[in-house]
Amino acid sequence: MRNFSLGKAFVPTVGIIALIYLLLPIFWVIVFSFNDAGRNNITWRGFTLDNWMNPCGAPNVCQAFGNSILVGVVATIAATVLGTMIAIALVRYKFKGRSTVSLLLFTPMATPEVVLGAGLAAQFLLAGVEKGIGTIILAHTMFCVSYVVVAVKARVAGLNPAIEEAGRDLYASPGQVFWRITLPMLMPGIIGASLLSFALSFDDFIITNFNSGTASTFPKFIYTSALRGVPAQANVLAAMVFLTAIILVIAVQMSRISRAKRLAKAA
């Protein structure tokens, strides 16, 4: 029965190799944030906490980071509002051109970023709009809307219609049903969608590169300093974001588990 033991070991082995493949660079980036590097962070020189003490030490890095956060927040808010409205309309209402609207929304996800970026940039050029933070925000909102629609759509479709009917049955006007029942029930999905949107915006490079002019975002900063050498401070900032995000995710998971345990006990 050689087949069996080989087979049994196959999936876990490849799986673990895949995880290492995924995580090794992350590990590398975080480790190198402690590197006593000069301008270029390519070879290991020694352990130091200086970079972490002074994360804005390298020129422009914090400004670029700040821009990314600004762009992320604004684009996320815009995309979440627009996307949620569209998602509700798509699931709940029948109207002419429903499939066209669906197509319109999902095509950006199927388009390579080069094309999206170049097209939008050409448009800005023609309209004589000066490229900067504003155009970056406009561009990010555009591609985030599609993702928000997909994420919220799934949530809207999963709502039990009987709950909103119960609201109407219990003397709530349609407006009250929406604000007091529908929206709160959608909120987890909307928050998830906005987090996704922020992550996509924060890490976006290609579309940003085409539409930013002289303005800098964090990924753009990394790209432009790649040849010269990315300062270790960039690693530090990236590691900070990473650790914050991981801690948040783990915290949410743990609270979910403890809540499930409490429910099981109470029942």
């Binding site: 995880l19 995580l23 590398w28 627009l82 199927a110 799934a154 964090f218 991981i246």
Partner: protein
């Protein structure tokens, strides 16, 4: 694109669409207007630009509205190698990604199902790359891999495969997660070996995930230019169509050429995706 991988596997409850009402239009109007302005119009603009031409004594960046279809011929003639290379890279990287991601997705979605805590942990590890800049990670590979390998086809494909593993793993995981394990038991009860069960039961049932994952990887890969650029994992002979578009647009400001190449890229992707989706029989991905 079976984005339920990212949106969670919420069950869909049958809802009769309500009667037509103006509420729908109010909800849709802002979003649709926005997309029309910032997605549709640029697209059309792209096509128009791709047909423009440079007049004799124009400065850099000046173009005249024209209808020069020969732009397309010229573009293909000059850059057919890059186009071909891009799609070859993308196909190889997609297949490699599939071969690596499927077992990972299977490990998490099937083998780890009895251990929800481990499953949660593994999933966090799979999405962890999303929390740290992909540029930094790709640069890390440039340092990790031996320098002889940098700048070769191998390093570019390596980087492409790497960057899209989560995009491949999550949809496949989602469809494997909802796989009823008793079907696998039924398979072996009916005399199928583990390998046969996989090819005849598991794989077909996870097909939607596989199709989503491959599309979510292949399409961005074909237009990528980070991995193939000199600063990262590329070298002199590895330029992809994305690199060409970028340099034409941002460096030489040859907008018609950049636009033409973009349209060509989109057209090829559309054809490949359409045939792929029809062949795998999952038309309603969305």
């Amino acid at each position: 694109m079976a984005f339920t991988a990212f949106a969670g596997n919420a069950p869909v409850i049958e809802q009769a669409p309500r009667k037509r009402s103006w509420t729908a239009l109010v909800l849709l109007a802002p979003g649709i207007a926005y997309m029309a302005l910032f997605f549709v119009a640029p697209f059309i603009q792209l096509i128009i630009t791709s047909l423009q031409m440079a007049p004799e004594n124009a400065g850099i960046g000046e173009y005249v509205t024209a209808f020069q279809i020969s732009n397309y011929g010229a573009a293909i003639a000059e850059y057919w190698q890059h186009i071909l290379r891009s799609f070859v890279y993308a196909i190889i990287a997609t297949i490699a990604g599939l071969l690596i991601s499927y077992p990972l997705a299977y490990l998490i979605g099937v083998k780890l199902r009895p251990f929800p805590m481990l499953q949660g942990l593994a999933l966090i590890l799979v999405i962890a790359p999303f929390f740290i800049s992909f540029l930094l990670r790709t640069l890390a590979w440039k340092q990790i891999l031996p320098s002889e390998l940098i700048g070769t086809d191998f390093s570019v494909i390596f980087g492409l495969t790497y960057n899209f593993i989560p995009f491949m793993t999550l949809p496949i995981f989602a469809s494997l997660q909802s796989l009823d394990l008793r079907m696998l038991e039924a398979g072996s009860d009916l005399y199928a070996s583990p390998v046969t069960t996989f090819f005849r039961v598991t794989l077909p049932l996870s097909m939607t995930g596989v199709v989503s994952g491959t599309l979510l990887s292949f399409i961005p890969m074909s237009g990528d230019y980070i991995n193939a650029s000199r600063e990262f994992l590329g070298g002199t002979g590895t330029a992809m169509i994305g690199n060409v578009i970028e340099s034409n647009f941002l460096s030489s400001q040859n907008y018609p050429m950049a636009a033409t190449l973009s349209v060509i890229l989109m057209a090829i992707i559309l054809v490949i995706v359409a045939t792929y989706v029809r062949r795998s029989g999952t038309e309603d991905l969305l």
